[in-house]
Amino acid sequence: MEEANIMPQTALEVCRNEKCRGKGLSMGRKIYDRGLRGLVWLCAGLTCTLLVFLIGYIFYRGLPNLSLEFLTTQESLLKGTMGILPAIQNTLYVVGVTLVIALPLGVGAAVYLTEYASNRRLVTTIEFATETLSGIPSILYALVGYLAFSKTLGLGYSLLAASLTLAMMNLPTIIRTTQESLKTVPQGYREGALGLGSGKWHMIRTIVLPGSIDGIVTGCILSVGRIVGESAVLLYVGGMDGTMNNFFASLDKFAHSSGATLTVQLYVFAKERAMMDPAFAVAVVLLVLTFLINLAAKVVGKRLRQR
């Protein structure tokens, strides 16, 4: 026993005195070590600079063009206003409807795959498929969504059809992140609950899902990022109109309203009308909106975990 105690100490001392501090290293290895460290620093530095430059430039170009009027009006020749309120509203609609559809479906599918499904081969196949699907270019989803929702279901160019398409597109991400998170819940928790006579669904609802709230929130945040940043699907299925929609006026309005979201509006400003100033202002709004939605998701996740 004593020897075992002495050994690591002496080894540690040797380590402290010589090699680990770099004193015993040869000149060549020293240069190599320094060189690599410098390289890693350079990579991190470049990435950060790029990010700061990007955000800085967008704010620099966009902020001067941002005004309360820009945010709270729609474009009108009569009134002489040029606002993006419709685009903000459309974006919120798309994010909301997409999540309301995709979240329960995705979480439900993930729960089935990790907690209920007993056919391992089927599960592995589905997991492989979801992984592949999450990497497919969004324009393919747009094509399928257009045929399925706009044409076959008769929704036409509408934000509902776009939301359904986006829900389809985000399902793999939500399923994967939720599944990974469910797998981190220790098996002991499940056995403990079942051992107390809890039914399976009760166990999942009270122990497993609360334990994987983090992963579900992460899935949400990733999805929101993709939804807000998506343009292909929305251009293809959602329409480009810039006037106000009144979604909640009637079921028909809810289902058939079309219009531009912020990204589409940005595209319209920059490419169709060559108006760079409002385009950059929209970019600022997009950045801030994404930040706010992610913040909200984090806060909600924290609240849920505490309960």
Binding site: E191, L196, G197
Partner: protein, 252 residues
Amino acid sequence: MEELILSARGLNLYYGENHALKDISIDIPERRITALIGPSGCGKSTFLRTINRMNDLIPNVKITGSLTYRGQEIYAPEQDVTDLRKRIGMVFQKPNPFPMSIYDNVAYGPRTHGTRNKVKLDEIVEESLRGAAIWDEVKDRLKKSALGLSGGQQQRLCIARALAVKPDVLLMDEATSALDPISTAKIEDLAAELKNDYTIIMVTHNMQQAARISDNTAFFLLGELVEFGETEQMFSMPQDKRTEDYITGRFG
């Protein structure tokens, strides 16, 4: 004559091709501590988990023969598994308190089975924590997370959690093997007291533990029940040569 609570007759269990329990026949008496001993992989834990049907969670398990709890066939198709597990509680090898408050851990079982009344729950929680000899240590921090407790405290909390649903039998699957000697002693004392009200069946790797606290001992080897009898008898005068070899430390 003491009451029998669990009886197995010709019980076989297969994990796929692997014949894990071979023709087990055993009668376990009420309000006694029965220890299951044997080397790793001998089937003692498998037998324990067969009693409250925890093996149901594993795919490809096949069970034949008879296993009855108070005369009721445990593997009968009409058996309500949640009700069975409510009456046959389990404490696991690794303490597994849920990531919630101490109070909520103990209240989990009763809530699951429909108790919502706050006063009633308070009562059950206190009674169960006292029953598991941990009340004095946690009474001032019932709302704190159970994960902040020491390993030994967590295990007693798990016992309290099991007691809260008022079980009849308590299965302990190497419940002290992850604990230090002092915590182990506390759990052993607790088990000795609990046997006044509960039937305890425990799997243990620790032969001294079996000798110290159990009334009956069953020795398993390679899926067979080699010997079953009073602990004193078994440790002083084993009937089977293999039992003698094992408890004197010649293998295992």
